[in-house]
């Protein structure tokens, strides 16, 4: 991306850069934690652009536009800006952005944190903002010294004149620098001059997370705040029919008020509100959703898979090489790649066809959904753990009929996000409750509410068919996919009645050299809410695809690594990742007695990744994972330590997807309710994980927040096959008698 593509708005002074906004309840310094309630910004702060303020006393404040939910973005992106600026990292402080168009993701023109987009979308923005401000500071210093700007440099928070060794602190220059026109194309530092980028920085908020002072949404407090415990219709689409307020009179609560599809009990204490809610007599009108069960959903998937109503979304070579009974319905004929053509089906000696299934899942962030809102005569303030500040602002504006400048959304730390916190359902509840009682209200969901009123990762059903010629070569592949929408709530404009791009992720950027391919899709309507969850479409799709590739390798009697290697022979970047993973895992050497290995490769979120899993399985189906090796090429790893964390944790998330977790439905309700029946991995199940990077320099940068589980899941299933001869084609593995030990 060329720098000139940046919208002018990045250079403008946003509400945050102007220093007038009520910002987050804590400010972080890399060196030490500064804690303050609603600090605002001192008047002497001078904004050089929407992302940066410098005060006369030399404080450098960088605005963090992306929600911190464990992925380390609050450290990584500001470090990129600080590196270009030449700031003293130990003296930088950070503030969370408000909802403001200045902080929109430039790729999508929308303010959110998700889809592993943050580094990809903001890396160039951060560099340019840092470099532009640096040039303005240098120009101001050069004016004062009456020297050429080229003879000066910025370093450690000072502008230095090389020849005379004179220097000014940034704070001395900020006012004059702000009067300079921001250069649109400032020179960017070569990687050799980076002091922060590419290193392993301590996370800026880690001290606060270690001494208990970090402010998550759950911990936010504002004067006069009261609490609400909530219950929404247990059946999807149901409504409150009747509420007997008298049934909780003895609890002395403040009020019982309606919220969207449910009811909130408001009290001075959450505990008091929760006790009253548990006793509250409320009846719901279930509506038509009450007939939904996992079996009725399965029947819908089956009918779709066996039907003929397919949308052709991708093809290469002869798209009809494999016979199929349905008509081509191209998504957009223009969009089909040049060279795809329809010719009569070919005859191959071997056809292989298998179905794969991924399950419904709940995000189960450790911090249950919560939000604080204060609706006043003047407007509305919201404080909460949100990945979707702009979505939240839009929803609140719509609810209250207010313009955007009257609705302020302040972002706290997030106790996990994984996509769950992109929607504003929990925000709307807090706003409704606050409006009803006229006080600031913090809504807190019970874990039961959190599990049973998630917006779920949809189950996905695949059928993949391959045609093999007489020499054992893979000549054609047809992939049919049935999935409910992933983006319907988080990005409505990208979804139509028949298409959702997220559902296809991973199937359109396959690097295997297969001459004739096609991908057909059916967007399934289901009566349960579905949305994005860490790995989005890549998770289910790569599980299916990489399991199938593994089957083809075994069918041929080939080594699964060698088989993939041959299919990737024209792609050096892919081969480098695959080769490093096998080298580090010792793939070419026999595994220790009783140990078996599985491998999987993919590009996901623009990152190339490969996992090798080494495990043993005893007769009872107990799986012991001895070793996991993961290799990732994200182009350039901006922070090695933080990215390593993410890939280690990705294995644990992958274990949840692959082995333990599942949401099922009965009578229109979610069956699971808490961690006793919605299982996630625990300490004893943690395998040793080794992480390796390749910095290929590829652009755009790959995302690393979600990629961790993607190839781990099929590598695990493939290793289970190697160990047991059982090919597991539907997740989770615990449905098939396996468990982790």
């Amino acid at each position: 991306m060329s720098q000139t593509h940046f919208s002018r708005r990045f250079f403008l002074q946003s509400t945050a850069a102007a220093g007038g906004g009520l910002l987050l309840s804590c400010i972080f310094k890399p060196a030490e934690l500064v804690h303050a309630q609603s600090p605002g910004a001192p008047a002497k702060d001078i904004a050089l652009n929407a992302w940066l303020r410098i005060s006369a006393d030399d404080r450098v404040t960088i605005i963090c536009s992306q929600a911190e939910m464990g992925q380390g973005i609050m450290t990584t992106l500001p470090a990129v800006l600080a590196d270009e600026l030449g700031a003293d990292w130990a003296r930088v402080q950070l503030e969370n952005s408000p909802a403001d168009p200045a902080y929109r993701n430039p790729r999508i023109n929308w303010q959110f944190t998700g889809n592993s987009e943050s580094t990809t979308a903001f890396y160039d923005v951060m560099r340019t903002m840092g470099a532009s401000a640096r040039e303005m500071l240098i120009a101001a210093a050069a004016d004062r010294w009456k020297v050429k700007p080229e003879t000066c440099r910025a370093e450690n928070g000072r502008v230095i004149h090389r020849a005379s060794r004179r220097s000014f602190k940034f704070g001395d220059l900020a006012e004059a620098a702000a009067r300079k026109t921001p250069p649109a194309n400032p020179p960017l530092k070569p990687a050799s001059q980076w002091k922060l980028v590419g290193k392993s920085l301590p996370r800026v908020e880690s001290r606060a997370k270690i001494n208990g002072s970090a402010i998550f949404g759950m911990d936010f407090v504002t004067p006069g705040m009261v609490y609400a415990a909530v219950r929404t219709s247990p059946v999807f689409g149901g409504k409150v029919a009747a509420v007997d307020k008298a049934s909780v009179e003895r609890f002395g609560v403040i009020d019982v008020v309606p919220i969207p599809d449910g009811i909130a009990v408001v009290a001075k204490s959450y505990w008091q509100a929760k006790q009253a809610l548990d006793e509250l007599k409320v009846t719901f009108e279930d509506g038509s959703g009450a007939s939904v069960s996992s079996n009725t959903l399965k029947a819908r998937y089956r009918a779709a898979m066996d039907g003929k109503n397919w949308l052709l979304v991708h093809a290469t070579g002869n798209r009809d090489a494999i016979p199929h009974p349905y008509l081509d319905v191209p998504l957009d004929k223009q969009a089909l790649p040049a060279g795809d053509r329809s010719e009569p089906a070919e005859t191959y000696p071997t056809m292989v066809s298998q179905e794969y299934e991924s399950q419904f899942l709940a995000h189960a962030t450790m911090e249950p959904m919560n939000c604080t809102a204060h609706v006043t005569a003047d407007g509305c303030e919201v404080w909460g753990p949100t990945q979707g500040q702009e979505m939240a602002q839009n929803v609140v504006c719509q609810m209250l009929g207010l313009p955007k400048d009257r609705v302020r959304i302040s972002r706290t730390l997030l106790g996990g996000g994984f996509g769950r916190r992109l929607t504003a359902d929990f925000v709307a509840q807090a706003v409704a409750a606050s409006k009803a009682v006229g006080m600031p209200v913090k809504v807190i969901w019970s874990r039961e509410e959190d599990i049973q009123h998630d917006i779920y990762r949809p189950a996905v059903l695949h059928r993949i068919t391959a045609a093999i010629d007489e020499f054992g070569r893979l000549r054609a592949m047809a992939h049919r996919l049935v999935s409910p929408s992933i983006l319907q709530y988080v990005s409505p404009p990208s979804v139509t009645d028949i298409y959702d791009p997220s559902c296809l992720e991973g199937l359109l950027e396959t690097h295997y050299d297969i001459p004739n391919t096609r991908v057909d899709f059916q967007l399934l309507k289901v009566p349960v809410p579905t949305s994005v969850m860490r790995t989005t479409g890549y998770g289910p799709n790569i599980f299916a695809f990489e399991s199938f590739i593994d089957e083809l390798a075994y069918n041929k009697g080939a080594d699964p690594y060698t088989y993939r290697r041959e299919l990737l022979s024209k792609n050096p970047r892919a081969l480098a990742v695959l080769d490093l993973a096998t080298e580090k895992s010792g793939w070419r050497n026999p595994a220790p007695a009783g140990h078996f290995r599985g491998i999987a490769f993919a590009e996901a979120f623009r990152t190339f990744t490969c996992h090798v899993v080494e495990l043993s399985v005893d007769k009872s189906g107990s799986i012991k994972i001895h070793r996991v090796v993961v290799v990732a090429d994200a182009g350039t790893v901006l922070d090695r330590g933080i990215t390593t964390n993410s890939l280690e944790g990705g294995v644990v998330f992958g274990l949840s997807y692959a082995v333990q977790s599942e949401i099922t439905f009965d009578k229109g309700r979610v069956v699971q309710s808490n961690f006793h029946d919605y299982e996630i991995p625990r300490m004893p199940e943690m395998p040793p994980v080794e992480v390796y990077f390749i910095d290929s320099g590829a652009r755009p940068l790959g995302g690393t927040g979600e990629v961790g589980p993607v190839t781990f899941i099929p590598a695990l299933a493939n290793a289970v096959f190697a160990a047991t001869g059982r090919r597991i084609r539907s997740l989770p593995l615990n449905k098939h008698g396996f468990r982790l030990s």
Binding site: S206, R207, T365, G649, F675, I680
Partner: protein, 160 residues
């Protein structure tokens, strides 16, 4: 409602509450100690772990009445300046990702080390199995506990 006195992080505290109110919510709402987290309400996730007379308990299911006159230590009581060996090790290993479960993890770990100054991996697995982490920091927690054991032994013992 009842007046209940207890010692929290070494200081006397007195609260006017329903004795059945869980210690978790007394700490968070009545005493303003929000480092201790709510995660499940059923002692299933360990986010709310605190020390009651030196033992790790799940404060979400511990009625405040049970803590009357007792010593309670929360994450804020390990140390504010991150000087406790567990905190130092957590910082050195850069354990937290989202960080929400970490106060509970650290309180469980501190208890483990007080009882067993040199735990092996199996000891760690046993002691920490009740603390869930959705970000998946278990590998770093394990390393940090080993590191903390080294720090504490060098300092001449564990405290909690």
């Amino acid at each position: 409602m009842k007046t209940i006195s207890l010692i929290v992080n070494g200081k006397s505290a007195s609260v006017q509450v329903d004795p059945s109110k869980p210690l978790l919510w007394v700490l968070r709402e009545d005493l303003g100690l929000t480092g201790t987290k709510f995660g499940c309400g059923m002692a299933l996730c360990g986010c709310c772990t605190v020390h009651l007379n030196g033992d790790a308990v799940r404060s979400c299911v511990t009625p405040i009445g049970r803590a009357e006159g007792q010593r309670v230590t929360t994450i804020e009581g390990l140390s504010g300046d991150v000087s406790h060996p567990i905190q130092q090790a957590w910082l050195a290993e850069q354990v937290p990702q989202c960080g929400y479960c970490q106060p509970g993890q650290m309180m469980s770990a501190a208890c483990l080390l007080a009882a067993n100054p040199n735990p092996n991996d199996a000891d760690i697995d046993n002691a920490m199995a009740g603390n869930l982490c959705r970000c998946g920091t278990y590998q770093r927690i394990r390393r940090a506990i080993h590191r903390a054991a080294g720090i504490a032994n060098a300092k001449g013992g564990h405290r909690r």
